[in-house]
């Protein structure tokens, strides 16, 4: 295409718009925010107002006490991600947003599962826990509580495996993530 700055002719035909991309994959946004009143409400409100769905959301402190990190995941098939991040950037208390590249990111989620386990199934359940490198953190007569840490997919897989034994309840934190390498996320 006609280089800017030269007199070479530019054909309008060559111009392409690249936007509103629906990437079709899951996105993990790591959002650094100031610890100011209402910051989480602002983000949640923005998503609700603009019709963006949050799949998971995790909030916690960072190494800097004035800042928090919000990690949220959303579906890039449903939303133009650039519009989501641009709207988020307009919030004055949002310092930085990273749309983390899956291959350059370590993401983990913690999940707790309460599974029925009586004498006949207990051994099988424990084996499953072993395979997923989970931990049994509480045992009662007819159930166990299992802690599993891992990627979203691993948690989902574990859930599928234990469900047949009788999944009584489950609690998940949503993923938190950090970029690989020396640089800050």
């Amino acid at each position: 295409m006609g280089e800017p700055g030269t007199k070479e002719v530019l054909s309008l035909e060559e111009l392409e718009a690249s936007v509103g991309l629906r990437t079709g994959r899951k996105h993990i946004l790591s959002i650094l925010v100031e610890n100011k009143p209402g910051v989480l409400t602002r983000i949640a409100g923005l998503f609700a107002r603009r019709g963006f769905n949050i799949d998971t959301l995790a909030v916690g402190p960072t190494d800097d006490p004035t800042l928090s990190r919000i990690t949220l995941t959303l579906d890039g098939a449903m939303h133009p991600i650039d519009q989501v991040t641009k709207q988020l950037h307009k919030l004055v208390n949002v310092i930085k947003i990273r749309d983390l590249e899956p291959t350059e990111t370590v993401a983990r989620e913690l999940a707790l599962f309460k599974v029925s386990a009586d004498g006949s199934t207990r051994a099988e359940v424990m084996q499953m826990v072993e395979i997923f490198r989970g931990k049994i953190i509480d045992v009662s007569k007819r159930s166990v509580i299992i802690e599993v840490t891992g990627s979203f997919d691993k948690i989902e897989a574990f859930e599928r495996m234990v469900r047949p034994f009788g999944l009584i309840e489950m609690a998940r934190t949503g993923e938190i993530a950090i970029s690989r390498g020396r640089g800050e996320t």
Binding site: P4, K7, P37, K90, L91, V94
Partner: protein
């Protein structure tokens, strides 16, 4: 000093000379501080009036408008002006009182969650937690309101904290790590835009309210002149390019001209400048400007490609970008003759489809005629014209010509009836040397009519012209066109008697219903000192045309 006295110091440091507001329990300390502050406070008759007056002040002057309200009902009364300012990108700072901190969350007397209620309708908001943070917050609020894409900022102050003694130190700078608007456009993109313009055969400049915010009318005009480009403006951009003019196509969009809408439809390159592709412009999105590539210049990155994908996005301040774009374009020495065919096409539309209406043969006043008469009576638009919302607003946009920026003040994004009178008061206060004229509707005027009291008390010589059709005319039109003329609750009756009402407020009132003397009668009314109300009876059932039906394409313009 008390925190409230520090607020006054901060206001003065920000150059604030006038504020609009209304007192109550939760902001009593602030009102005490006004006694000695040396800042002019205009006591409105309703907080909504205060908010809109601050908007009118801001739109007319380019400075930040300031409004004060008490907690609870005072704060909820400014919800509409805040939303209006958000939609139209108007720089405002609103101070609301709040109940004492010990009462917060207890449903205390006049407690409302102002911070929560207003969160989605402000550019940013602050809730004061320590009195010492007040000075910094005030300056941050002004900074955020006026820079980048302007907008409303709210500061909610619990009563006890506003009274606290603080050690006031002037604040020299603001530091907002999460807020750094981009001002300079990317050079490469600007050069690319110049090249695209140089190669376009059917270009259109589509300018919006952002050109006015950016004070970039001169640069826009310069760009238009440099390439003999046709220009159209949105409702909010009127005045950004001087009208009438050979290169001026008129407003575009739902009630725009055919020339403007057809030019957008056939354009090969559209340069959007501080305009946000509202649905009143695009109509049916899939058929909007189907042949065009888009250069989009906007200070808000989120606007770019929000509704219409941009081919050459340029984020930054329109003034800076346009100035450089003109230079880059000229350097390419493009052949001006390439636009000859395009101008012939445009001339054809202009001559075939000028704005037109069937004038009356007798003394009846057609609403469009009233706008033309008002234009003449103001010496070809030598005034700031404010309007309300409805048919009269559209006819004003069509038939009044705006020679420069900040001469046209109206509510576009929210379309707030009742905006007009307080906004015209704010404009008159901001620009005392320019006549402030309001063209309103008989419906809209009643939504903030109480502000006539403000105008009288503070001697604001606002001239209110009512286009009196006895209808909520715009809604009536839609019922006629799209709901089989089944009129439902749009007839207003002939109340009140406007002349008597004006007189009750100590204003001058006059009734006009004769077309033959209208221009002269308007001149006389406008020349009458003080606030004036002119009731002009117009044809009752006239429709605003041309029109693109909602959701239709530009090609399907009717009327």
């Amino acid at each position: 000093m008390r925190a409230v006295d520090a607020i006054m110091e901060c206001l003065k440091a920000e150059g604030v000379d006038v504020v609009f507001g209304y007192p109550g329990g939760a902001n009593l300390p602030t009102y005490d501080a006004f006694v000695d502050a040396g800042i002019r406070h205009v006591l409105v008759r309703h907080e909504a009036g205060g908010g809109h007056a601050a908007e009118g002040y801001a739109k007319a002057s380019g400075r930040v408008g300031v409004v004060f309200a008490t907690s609870g009902p005072g704060a909820t009364n400014i919800v509409t002006p805040l939303t209006d300012a958000m939609m139209d990108s108007v720089p405002l700072v609103a101070f609301t009182g709040q109940v004492r901190t010990e009462l917060l969350g207890t449903d205390g007397f006049q407690e409302a969650d102002t911070f929560g209620i207003t969160m989605p309708i402000v550019k940013h908001s602050f809730v004061i937690q320590h009195p010492t943070e007040i000075p910094r917050v005030v300056h941050e609020a002004f900074h955020i309101a006026r820079t980048g894409r302007p907008g409303p900022v709210l500061i909610d102050i619990p009563q006890d904290l506003s009274r606290a003694e603080i050690d006031y130190q002037p604040v020299e700078d603001v530091h907002l790590p999460g807020y750094q608007p981009t001002l300079d456009g990317n050079s490469k993109q600007i050069r690319l835009a110049a090249k695209a313009l140089a190669n376009a055969r059917r270009p259109v400049l589509y300018a919006g309210g952002g050109v006015i915010s950016a004070q970039a009318s001169e640069e826009l005009t310069e760009l238009a002149r440099s390439g003999n480009f046709p220009v159209t403006c949105t409702l909010m951009g009127l005045g950004a390019f001087p009208a009438p003019d050979q290169q001026w196509l008129g407003m575009l969009g739902m009630h725009g001209t055919r020339a403007a809408n057809y030019a957008m439809d056939e354009a090969d390159l559209i340069v959007a400048i501080g305009a946000r592709f509202d649905d009143r412009i695009t109509g049916k999105l899939s058929e909007f400007a189907p042949r065009a590539k888009f250069i989009h210049i906007d200070i808000d990155p989120a606007e770019i490609s929000k509704n219409v994908p941009a081919h050459i996005p340029i984020v930054g301040d329109a003034k800076r970008i346009l100035a450089r774009l003109v230079g880059e374009y000229r350097a390419l020495e493009p052949d001006a003759a390439r636009l000859t065919g395009w101008w012939e096409r445009i001339e054809h539309w202009r001559s075939q489809h000028p704005l037109r209406y069937d004038d009356s043969a007798d003394s009846e006043i057609k609403p469009q005629y009233l706008v033309e008469a008002l234009y003449k009576a103001t010496n070809d638009g030598d005034c700031i014209l404010s309007s309300d919302v409805g048919q009269h607003q559209m006819w004003a946009a069509q038939y009044f010509h705006f020679k420069g920026p900040r001469r046209w003040i109206n509510s576009g994004g929210l379309g707030t009836m009742g905006f007009g009178l307080p906004a015209a008061i704010g404009a008159a206060i901001a620009c005392p040397d320019v006549p402030s004229v309001l063209l309103t509707g008989d419906g809209s005027f009643q939504m903030n009519i109480q502000e006539l009291g403000t105008a009288k008390q503070f001697d604001v010589p606002v001239k209110c012209v009512i286009m009196d059709n006895g209808y909520l005319g715009m809604v009536r039109q839609w019922q006629e066109l799209f709901w089989d003329r089944r009129y439902s609750n749009v007839e207003m009756g002939s109340y009140p008697d406007w002349v008597k009402l004006a007189e009750a407020y100590g204003a001058h009132g006059v009734l006009l219903q004769d077309k033959t003397t209208l221009v002269e009668d308007l001149r006389t009314a406008l020349a009458t000192p003080g606030p004036v109300v002119v009731d002009v009876k117009v044809t009752r059932e006239e429709n605003t045309y041309p029109m693109i039906a909602p959701g239709a394409a530009a090609r399907e313009m009717v009327g």
